[in-house]
Every structure is written in structure tokens, then in C-alpha cells.
């Protein structure tokens, strides 16, 4: 049933459809609408789950870790500083091989305080062992959340479903809400491979001496390496049932493109409009949206970018001292692939709008510059404030 939903609602509806048993979260703008909706579902019975109120994000993650260790399907959501506070527990969830799904609404980190879209918060957690999926619209938020449970439970790694603050979390648009029976067919009840059970005592997440720790980490890496293929199979099933698929990356008019813009999140929607404009103007522009950041989809990127002449990366984030994070990752991923020059751009930090003009600038600068600059190029910065 197609209906008008806010991005946050699309996420909450997916959690309801996934029959999540334990939700624990601590409110933070712009994640609030997701957990408010879930608290409502838990209280009115439309979701047969427990909502655990806690005193911090660290505790929220700890609570879902405990619940997941008990063998139930879990969910939490956070943003920005809240996600940063969870950091230690994120490692625990992944190292504990718990298939927790979390919605992460990309918001800038303070100070200065800023409520608006910025990916640095989630990207700062890239080494925690969480699978990261960046969404572009409300439908994708719903679909990705459902797929995330299949994926997480298949590889025993947690998944972060990531959406831009406001541009996605607070935007209302048509979303196809699948029927519960259909979702139940796609996503059967969680069958944990291990769980805390007082009738069969065991120690979970205890000491890993030198003799086994490295193997445990290797096991996590192997699980990550299996994700692209598993995601593809899950998406095939999803497509067969619901008629939609996304892939780890989403190319648009890339086959014959000479300049391809790589970006993620909602900026990709606006970029698609620009690519249409440029094509209409006779330019061979293409767009590659990276949906899966962890594991980084190296093979897919090689394939899509194999014949591009120039690649521009638009990052709504910054690793200070290194620049755009997607650009860094892409440059690294392209080793052994097409040795195409990668132009790195940073725009839209702290909710500054990424407009059609911003993206046109990306294409124009890339096309008009022979070699990429060593440092990332910042677009739309008021230079006069920095003098």
C-alpha cells in the first residue's frame, strides 16, 4: 500500500514489520521521530515488543546487546553525539557477533552545536565492525531496514541503516508499505545461533587470549567479505517479492560516462537531476551512489568505474587532516582497478544545502581541471569568514 510517510516513520514501520522484540533508545534530534513512533507502537500493541527506557545512548546499546545476547531481534537508533557515546558498545555488539540493527540519522557533531545533516558521525564508526548502509529516500529506508535484519542475522554482524538528517528523516514522500504477511515470508523469525540460556550456562563475550583473538577478528573480516554476495542474494529475494532492489552501489548512466560523480545519501537524488540536465546539454555525465560503505564494495566500484576518465567524489563529511572520507576510501579501493583520477569535494557539512548548483560545480571543476588537487576541495565555503 503506497502511502505518505516521513523518512523516520518509514524506518519505524520497517521495525514494526520486522517484529522486533526489544527496542531501546535514548532520544536525540533528529532521531527522535523514529523512537517516538516505536514507543507508540510498543504501547498500543501494534508492535509486540518491549521498549526499554535508558539514561544514555551507551546504555541503549548495552541494553540491546543484552537483549540480542538473549536471542531476540533488537533495534536502536541514534545520531551524532549519541552515536559517539555508544562507541565502546558498538565494538562490543560487533565483536559479540550480535545481529543488532540500528538507524543512524546523520547529524553534525558539536561543538558548535548543529542539528543538521553531516555524515562524519557515522563514518567515525567505520572501524567498529558494523555494516553501514546509506539510504537515499524513504522507501529505501524501509526496504533497507528489512534487508538489514536478514543480512545481520546471516553474518552475525550488526547493521547501521543510515539516513540524512531532515533531508530524509523529516521529509514526507510516497512509500510503499508492504503487508505484514509478505514481510513475514521474507523475514522469518530470528533463529539465533547462540544465546544466553540459564538452562545451558556458558560464558559469552569473555576473555580471548592471544591464542584465539586474531582468529576471532579474522572471523569478523571473513563475515564482512561475505556480505556483498549475501546482500545480492537477499536483494534478489526482496526484488522477487517486492519489486525493488538497490545493490551495494547504484550507478546511473555510467556505462558511457566520461565523468562520474560518486556520492551517497540524499545528495545522490539531486545529483541525478543534474546528470539528466548535463546529458540534455550533451555531456557524458554519470552518477555512482555508494549505498554500502562497510564493507566497502570494491568489486562493484571497479566494475562501474572501469571506463571512466575522471571520477569526482562529493563528501558530506570530513576526516580532518585527510579530507573527504568516501574519496579516500575510493582511491584506496581503485588500487588494482581503473587508475582513474579521483577529484575530492567536500560540501554540505552541518546541513548546508547541496543544491543543483553545488553538483554542477563538481562536474564543471572536474571537467575543467587536468589533475585532481592533493587536498579535498571545499565547495560553498564563505572564505571571507576565514580571513
Amino acid at each position: 500500500m503506497k502511502t505518505i510517510l516521513e523518512g523516520s516513520q518509514a524506518c519505524a514501520e520497517a521495525v514494526r514489520l520486522a517484529r522486533v522484540q526489544v527496542v531501546s533508545a535514548y532520544p536525540i534530534t533528529p532521531q527522535t521521530h523514529i523512537v517516538e513512533e516505536l514507543a507508540k507502537f510498543c504501547s498500543d500493541g501494534s508492535l509486540n515488543g518491549r521498549f526499554l527506557c535508558v539514561e544514555s545512548e551507551h546504555s541503549a546499546m548495552a541494553a540491546v546487546i543484552g537483549a540480542a545476547a538473549g536471542g531476540v531481534r533488537t533495534f536502536t537508533a541514534s545520531s551524532s553525539q549519541g552515536l559517539a557515546l555508544m562507541h565502546e558498545m558498538l565494538h562490543w555488539a560487533a565483536g559479540g557477533r550480535l545481529p543488532i540493527v540500528m538507524a543512524e540519522v546523520n547529524r553534525a557533531l558539536g561543538p558548535g552545536w548543529n542539528l543538521w545533516a553531516d555524515q562524519t558521525d557515522s563514518l567515525a564508526q567505520r572501524d567498529t565492525g558494523w555494516i553501514q548502509l546509506y539510504c537515499a529516500d524513504g522507501q529505501e529506508v524501509l526496504d533497507t531496514t528489512l534487508q538489514a535484519y536478514r543480512l545481520a542475522e546471516a553474518v552475525n554482524l550488526p547493521v547501521m541503516v543510515i539516513l540524512d538528517a531532515f533531508f530524509l528523516s523529516h521529509t514526507w514522500e510516497p512509500v510503499d508499505l508492504p503487508a505484514q504477511e509478505e514481510v513475514d515470508q521474507f523475514l522469518p523469525p530470528y533463529a539465533p545461533r547462540f544465546r544466553m540460556d540459564t538452562d545451558h550456562p556458558q560464558s559469552l563475550h569473555g576473555v580471548a587470549p592471544i591464542g584465539v583473538y586474531m582468529e576471532m577478528r579474522r572471523s569478523m573480516q571473513l563475515a564482512m567479505e561475505a556480505v556483498p554476495e549475501l546482500l545480492e542474494r537477499i536483494e534478489e529475494e526482496f526484488f522477487a517479492r517486492f519489486g525493488r532492489r538497490y545493490g551495494p552501489v547504484e550507478p546511473y548512466l555510467c556505462d558511457d560516462a566520461d565523468v562520474i560523480l560518486v556520492t551517497s545519501g540524499t545528495a545522490a537524488g539531486t545529483a541525478r537531476v543534474v546528470v539528466d540536465q548535463l546529458r540534455a546539454e550533451g555531456q557524458k555525465a554519470g552518477l555512482l551512489r555508494i549505498r554500502m560503505f562497510r564493507p566497502f564494495p570494491v568489486r562493484s566500484v571497479h566494475e562501474v568505474l572501469k571506463s571512466a576518465l575522471k571520477v569526482a567524489v562529493l563528501d558530506r563529511n570530513c576526516s580532518f587532516g585527510a579530507g573527504g572520507i568516501f574519496a579516500s576510501e575510493l582511491r584506496s579501493a581503485l588500487q588494482g582497478g581503473n587508475p582513474v583520477p579521483v577529484y575530492s569535494y567536500i560540501a554540505g557539512l552541518g546541513g548546508r544545502d547541496i543544491t543543483v548548483e553545488t553538483i554542477r560545480d563538481c562536474f564543471a571543476l572536474t571537467r575543467g581541471t587536468d589533475r585532481p588537487a592533493i587536498e579535498s576541495v571545499w565547495l560553498g565555503v564563505k572564505e571571507e569568514l576565514l580571513k
Partner: protein, 204 residues
Amino acid sequence: MKEFRFHGRGGQGTVLASIALAKAFFQAGYWVQTFPVFGSERRGAPVEAYLRLETTKIYLRSNIYEPDHVIVQDARLINLVDVTKGLKSGGWILLNAPGLPADLAPFQGFKLACVDAAHIALEHGLGAKNQPITNTAMMGAFARLFSNPPLEAVVEAIESEMPIKISENVAAARAAYEAVVLHGQVNGSELLPSAGPIFRKAVS
């Protein structure tokens, strides 16, 4: 694509109106996208919301800088906010005002429609004298001005969205639908009569 900008004050239901209208348009076969301009919310402070309409999926995710039309929930906002900023030439301004404003200077080059939504809201028991809840009346006027969404789709959206006083809100929308006055294009001190725009029929 048609782009609308809503101006209101925190507490007037401006965002709710944009969502309800989006739902009504969706029922009428349009692809819609609506989102508030999110800031530090405070009752009485100016707020804005955007609404995009298209016959196909909307990919564009940036803010609206050059709206086709604007909706102003409170005439006194004109002194606080530049409500015509970026408004396309010849675009409509739907204004909640008791009558035609004495000073037409802010509206030069645009088309003006007025409805006494505050009065209608109070007549239907919506809000208090200093804080009438005008959003549903403005939705009725919107439906009449733009011939879309159909009034019955607006009524349906109000019925599904409004948490309380549903029949009063529906009645206010219907009353404003009848009461809105399309003054036409402001040209100096003159008003050139103009019919409301009629949107393309949606492609399903």
C-alpha cells in the same frame, strides 16, 4: 514540477498543513515531497515548510529557493520575513488577511488571493482570538485557488491527519474554500483579474 513555500508561525499547524496537502495531492495522483525548514522551534517564531509536486518520482532533495507560489498563514509575518523571496514572477500569494492589504507594495508583480482564515477558524472554534489555528481553513482556500487537490481529497486528508475537532476543521476548510477571494495580479495600485492556475492532470 510545482514548488510551494508555506510561511507560518510555530504552533499554527503550518507543517501539518503542508503534510495534509501532500497527502491530498498524493490521493489525487501526484508524486509529492514535503519537509519543514528545521530550526530551533518556538511557538510564535516564523516557520517554513516546502511542498513539491510532480507527476513522476521526485529525486531533487535540496531546499526550495524559487517557489512557484507561497502560502502565508499570518499577514503580519510580512513585516518579519521576506515572503516573496525567490517567488517566480506571476506566482500566487495566498494570504490569510481580513481583506485586501492597504499596502500592496510587497506584492508587486505577484498575484494575490486573500482569505480571512483567522475569522473562519474562530467561527469554528479553532484556537483562541490571539492564536487562531488557521491551517485547515488555509487548506480549503488552497484547494479553491489552485483547483487542486480536490476539496474532497482535502477533507479526507484533514480527517486522517487532525488529532482533534475533525468536523470543525472540515467545516472551516469548506468555508474558506467558498470565502477565498482571488484579487489577481498586483500591478502598481491596480489589480489585474486573474484566474487561479490549473495544474496538469497527474500521470498515474
